[in-house]
């Protein structure tokens, strides 16, 4: 079982959306448990969780306020934990396999000062200006950072529609590619970007 912790240094950077989409893509081939431990419970809302627990094909979702090691069920291939933003003590109890750090441009430096993990580390820069020049600049800036995988996600206005359409009917190609890399354990420090 792989435990993937998704965290950020501040709210509003897209951590829950990324957790939901990552769970969706991993669940295409594997049994996945998404634990929504964030305060506002947005990732479970995105996967249209209505009654506390919902199974759809391979994806199961828990909405929890407190994380306990007992919740990590070995019957799943992947457990994705949508953590509250830093500083928090709840998610620290979890012995994760992969730590995903989500940030926007403005909080990147702050995030880097918090990152202290010996686990597999993935950095996601979310909501980057979608214009090629800006994406190229960000890729250039982060390509040498000490992460096992780096992902640049452009700001896509239509992604907001996913809360109406459900994540089943909308796609995030960068997260899909990241999920594929996680499945293949292909962590070579490369940058995944739309260009």
């Amino acid at each position: 079982m792989y435990v993937i912790k998704v965290s950020s240094v501040k709210g509003g950077v897209g951590k829950s959306t990324i957790s939901a989409y990552l769970s969706k893509y991993l669940s295409k081939k594997h049994k996945v448990l998404l634990i929504d431990a964030d305060i506002i419970k947005y990732s479970s809302y995105l996967v249209k969780l209505l009654g506390g627990l919902r199974f759809e094909s391979n994806l199961a979702v828990y909405k929890v306020d407190k994380i306990d090691e007992k919740i990590l069920d070995n019957s799943y291939d992947y457990v994705v934990v949508d953590c509250p933003h830093f500083p928090e003590a709840n998610c620290n109890k979890i012995n994760s396999t992969i730590d995903i750090y989500v940030s926007d441009i403005s909080s990147l430096d702050l995030l880097l000062s918090y990152v202290d993990s010996s686990k597999i580390k993935i950095l996601i820069i979310n909501m980057v200006s979608p214009f090629p020049e800006d994406i190229e600049n960000i890729v250039e800036k982060i390509k040498n950072l000490n992460f096992d995988l780096k992902v640049v996600i452009p700001f896509i206005p239509k992604i907001y529609m996913s809360k109406f359409k459900g994540i089943e009917n909308s796609e995030m190609e960068m997260i899909q590619e990241m999920a594929y890399k996680i499945e293949k354990a292909d962590f070579n420090g490369q940058v995944i970007s739309p260009l």
Binding site: F131, P132, E133, E136, F155
Partner: protein
Amino acid sequence: MNGKLKIRLEVVIFTAILLSALLVWLFYPLWILRSANYAQYITPLGFEIYFFGSDFLLISPLMITSLIFFAFSAIIPIVWRSSRYSLYSSSFSLLLGFVMIINALIFEQRYLNFHGYSVILTPTGSFYIYFPYSTYFSVPFYLILASAAISTLNSLTRARWIPYNRPTLLDKLNRDIMSKGIIGAFSEWFERIGIPYAAESNKLMVKDLTLSTEDRGRELSVFFPNGEIIVFGKRGVLYIAKDGEIKYMNLDDGIKLTIAKALERAEINREIVEEKIYL
């Protein structure tokens, strides 16, 4: 001169034929006058006269010069590939060489043949003979003629008369983009095709299609796109549709998309066609 430029097949064919003509000429005369007991030949070094088993060579600068002109003509398009002027030089040099050969023939007719009599030079004197003979051109002459035809064709077509590896319009556009940049190249091409456009420093607008390379002024919007937007980066292209849907693609696909979207907005001016009909 650029060693990286590939040699066109047309040039290779020309050079091969001309060099083989010169090679054959070294061993076999270009023009022959043959009689029962004597012969006159045009060789690369001059006029060779054969008479009853003895050979005499009348060295002539005409043939030596023509040999040099032919060799220059064969080699110059191989060495100098960066310009079409090497093809013109080659043709001109071949023409000069050919003129030398014609001069040699005139010389032969004027001084070594006269009213059916042949002048047979020997090491010790000369004979003046009236005897039936026949004259004919041989293989090197026809090879030189063939290479002259090919050289002319090469000059007229810039060595592109064989339909292979011919640059398409897309190749030419891509080459222009490399040299003039996205905005410069597309503005030229829009003019050529007849697509009306408006230009700003880093933007081209074809009706409601905006083509841009950067957006330092933050004028473009992904929230409220005004028409369709295509933004070129160094490694990829962003396309924003009217409904705000965005799509990334590589540069080649971006170029093709720009052409397609611009052509959608082009108008064919039928009045010009009709004017030509009545003219």
